[in-house]
Every structure is written in C-alpha cells, then in structure tokens.
Amino acid sequence: MTINEVQDKIIDEFSMFDDWMDKYSLLIDLGKELPVIDPKFKTKDFLIEGCQSKVWLHPYYDGNKITFTADSDAIITRGIVGLLIKVLSDRTPEEILSADLYFIEKIGLRQNLSPTRSNGLLSMVRQIKLYAMAYDAIKNNL
C-alpha cells in the first residue's frame, strides 16, 4: 500500500467511531500492535524531546527503506507513534520526505490534543523526517 492508501485506511477505521472514548480504545489497541524497539535502544540517543511521556524511536536503514521501531511509557502515546509507524515505516527516505500526513487532521488527532501534546506528536513527525533526510543525504553522496 502507498502512504496515502494507509492513511485512508486509518481514516476509515477512525470514522467508525463518533465517541472519543472509542477512538481512544482504538489507539490503545493500536499501541499493542506497535513494533517494539529493542530495549538496548531505549536510551537518551533515541528519546524524542517535547513529549509529556517518554517516546523512543529507532530507525533501521537497509540502503533502500527505513524501518522504525518505537516505544512509550504511556499507552495512548504508543498508539499515536504506532499510527505514524504504520504510515511511515518500511518506506524510502524520498517517500517519507514527500509525505503529506493529512490523516492526523482527519482523524481529529491534532484538534483533540492540546498544544503541548500536539507538540509531542509533531516532534515525532519531525524526528521521523529528520532521519529520512539524513539517510537521503547519505544515499545521494554514495
């Protein structure tokens, strides 16, 4: 599936629920499916700043695609980072850099998270894009 196909699928899934409690339940379930980071990477180097809860994110680049694993000490945050990984993991750096993440707005994540929380989400997106930029640079220099 393309990035946009995955985004559309997520939007569909969330649109089945009007109630925010149900949406949170879905996020909690998504958190359980998160590809979990190897504990040895749960260090300061892979910690994302700007979140109320701790989020660790690890990239693995095989020369073509970047695969992300992550974890958080908060379950809802695990769900949110899980969503980002569903959309952006196993993609080439170019795909990640050109992605327009419209699903965040559409499923109401942005409006429903207060600014500090939203910054947490935006920090995660920024970190993923920074990794993509770095690997893109490496690839182009080679």
Binding site: M21, Q52, A74
Partner: protein, 406 residues
Amino acid sequence: MKNINEIRADFPILSRKVNNDMPLVYFDNGATTQKPKCVIDTVSEVYATYNANIHRGVHFLSDMSSEAYENAREKIRSFINAGKKEEVVFTSGTTGSINGLAFSFGERFIKPGDEIIISYLEHHANIVPWQMMCERKGAILRVIPINDAGEIIMAEYLRMLSPKTRLVSVTQVSNVLGTVLPLNEIIAAAHSVNVPVLVDGAQGIQHGIVDVKAMDCDFYVFSGHKIYGPAGIGVLYGKENLLSELPPFQGGGDMVEKVTFEKTTYNVLPFKFEAGTMNYPGAIGLMSALDYISSLGREEIAERENELLSYATERLSAIEGLKIYGNATRKISLISFLLKGIHQYDAGMILDKLGIAVRTGTHCAQPVMDRYGISGTIRASICFYNTKEEIDILTSGIEKVKQMLE
C-alpha cells in the same frame, strides 16, 4: 457565606461545556483559578471607561486610572496586612517577583561563598532565579530535604542555617503535595541569626488569611491569577527597610526621579521597582478579586476547601491501586496521585475527554518528582467553587480510566 449555587453562578466559565457537551469539572485551580464576573467586568470597565496610562498624564482619565491603581495597592496592603502601601510592589506575578528580588538582593547583599536556603518543595520559580543569582555571584544554594510524607525536615534546616546564610526562600504551600510549611518556626529560626525570609505565597494566599505582619516574613510574593484575579499581575511585598536598601531590578519610565546621561536617581518606594507601564488593568482587576474573596469570607473559604479536600481524600483513597503522594499532617487544597501501572498522561487524556480538567506531569517542580522516583503525578487542585458532586465525577472518571487502561 453564599450557597454553592450562588457562588458557582458568579463564575461564568463554570457553566460551559467542553469536549462534546461534557459539563466542565475544573480541578486545575493550582495552575490558575477561574474568574468571577465582577473581575471580568472590572477589567472590561477599565478599558471601556477610563483607560489611560498611570502616573503620567495631567488629564482626567489618567487621574482616574492612577487613582484606581493606587487604590488597588491599598487594597492589597490591607488584604495581607502590610504596614505601608510603600511595601507593596506590583509585578507580573510570582515568577516576576522572585526573579526581580533575586537580582536586586544578589546585587546588594551577596558575595562569593554566601548561601541561600530553599526547600525541596519549591516550584521552579523559587529555584531557578536563585540558581541564576548564585551562578552570577559565586554563592551556594542549599536545599532543605523532605520526609516521605512530604514535610520539610526542620532539624536539617536548623543545621543549614549558618553565618554564611543570607536568605531563606520557601513556599507557603507545596504546589505538588499540598504540604503547608511551618512558616512561624522557619522564620523565627532565620531571624534568630538575622537572616531574612521570603515566603512564596503562590499556593497559599488563596486558601486562607495571610498576615505578613503576624507571620513576620521579610518578603511575600504571589500571583493575581491564582487568587481569582487577572493573569499578568502579581505582588512583591517587602519590609520597607529592606526594599529601601535594594537597587531596582529594571530601569525605565516612572521608576526614576531625575535622569541625565551622566546619572539617574531613583524614585521612592514602591515606584523604584515599577519601571515602565505597569499592568494597571490587572492590578485593578486584582482589587476586585480580593474584594470578592473578602465578601465570601476567607475563613469560610478555608473551611469549605478543607471539607472538600477531606471528602476527595476519602473517595480517592478508596480506589484500588491509587496512591496519594504527600500525606503531610498539615495539608491543603490539592491531591497528587498515581494509578498503579497507568501513566499519568494516559489518565489525564481520558479524564479530559470526560470533561475533567486536572494537571498531569511534573507541575514545574521536577526535584519533588525525583525525590519520589516518579516521572509525574496527576494533580487535582480544589477550590471553594468545587463540589462534592464534582469529586464524585472525578472518582468515577478514575474508575473509567482504570477500566480502559488496565
């Protein structure tokens, strides 16, 4: 005292809905309090009918606003029972007061090797300005430790007081644990070795009677927005003899007597510390808030809040897996807690969806979190307009959190 429905009707925001039609249940009063209609009207009236810069114009409106601003100062003087109006300086808030004082006090009194004593219960506003001053002056910051209940260990404090001590700066009430500090003992001990004491009243003044003369503190600071007044206004009270000795912490208009490019002489107290255009609508709004508090009765407020805290403690303690942080013998106004196996952030997000406003995280007091080895708490801070029904809603909200996350 007015009945609870009459009180709640005074606060327009309390009847609003949040998050898909949930009635607002506001338990974040420690961060900021809601405003009664009289305060909102007063600020609006300033702008609508007599707005003009204070202490400057010869014109009608400037006279009016200057007079109202000085009336606000007098109101605050009587509210905290200061001796003179000159001892009441307006600032932007608690943080502004402490930063200003730390600068001026440091310039005047601090040499390398001198010591400042604070406690483990301080919020960042009563830690960082002193650290900055210590760094600038080569002074040392000493911290009074606390016990597991969240009370300061007096014996350690008494041991810390030494000929090197220049100032003790402690909070009246812990913003994380609700501990009421034994100020009389702290101040008496400091004074016995001629050390002045600053009391941070950010979490204290709104919950009972504050009498700076009886307390005999040398400085007292608080924020307007935490006592039902507007944001951006605060107070620095200081004993006249001390304030007179301190240099200004900001330069600008109104704080000067005479300015030439060679030398500037400063205005008298309190104007020496009020550089530039002050937040006069905020000060006038704060006066209205204090009038409102006085009309309800400060003893009555304290009594009502203690009753609510006891009820909340009883209800929350009964929840399985809920641990309360801070069990001081003298405790007011708030409960900090965690749920076993549940991150405070997850709990806060779900409570928010139920219309319940609590604060989660470190509450700008990271050292307290480190003391207990936790990354944050959920804090429900209570005030007189809260109800037992709201505490019941919080209790069932917490049960819902557990059900969803366990």
